[in-house]
Symmetry: C2
């Protein structure tokens, strides 16, 4: 059940610990780009000794090893994602949902720009998602 995550940690010569396995599993099963609080409060139920600081620490070490990535898209908190093939993100300013945007962009290949060494590329799109637009329409029709 956790073999997949054990392997990921082993491949990066990281120690196999419960918090790390649980966090990896959570991110792998929930591609909603959760924040620390969501990860913490969900896992805390199954694993009561879990500490919030451990979630912060674990995510940090997973990030350093490029296993997960953090998104600064919301502006108030970091959101986390299993680091898959390069893709961009859309955040809905109405409901807060963060959605994957799979478009190609010539700049996504981390090309060096003006002598700067680019190690990470993030494309953020902000607006109103399809669902929330539908809700808006409904509200107008009723009013």
């Amino acid at each position: 059940m956790y073999e997949k995550y054990v392997k990921i940690l082993k491949d990066h010569t990281l120690k196999i610990t419960s918090p790390r396995l649980e966090i990896l599993k959570y991110l792998d099963e929930h591609h909603t780009h959760p924040n620390v609080e969501e990860i913490y409060s969900t896992l805390k139920k199954k694993y009561p000794s879990l500490s919030r600081t451990t979630v912060y620490n674990s995510l940090e070490i997973l990030k350093k090893n490029r296993i997960v990535q953090s998104l600064t898209i919301s502006g108030s908190e970091l959101r986390y994602d299993i680091d898959e093939r390069l893709h961009h993100h859309f955040i809905c300013t109405h409901c807060g949902a963060i959605l994957d945007i799979s478009i190609s962009c010539p700049n996504m290949d981390k090309t060096i720009q003006g002598g700067h060494r680019v190690e990470e590329v993030q494309g953020y799109f902000k607006g109103v998602c399809k669902k929330c637009q539908t809700k808006e329409k409904g509200m107008n029709n009723n009013g």
Copy 2:
């Protein structure tokens, strides 16, 4: 001296106030993508009655009017910029500097993606800037 900023505010039917004029002038003269604290502490010297909350409020209203834009690139604080023609940003993980990146990208035109209404596009590049790379080399040579 402030005519330019008075005009900007008038064009958006915003009240002409000292904090707004000072903040606009500061952003226009410092394209370093400052955070609230930098804007506040600098302006506080010339304008001692200025409140930090006012800086937050003013930036918020300037942002709503699309006069300035906020960047979530740093992950710990918002950085502000006079909203010029669309461009991207690079942040140096060594020195923290945020630099403009003027590259074209087919996705920058706020095209609707999968039915979502896109109102804002931000391209963030993270890595080590040219200057810091030079410093790194110097340090290795000396060590």
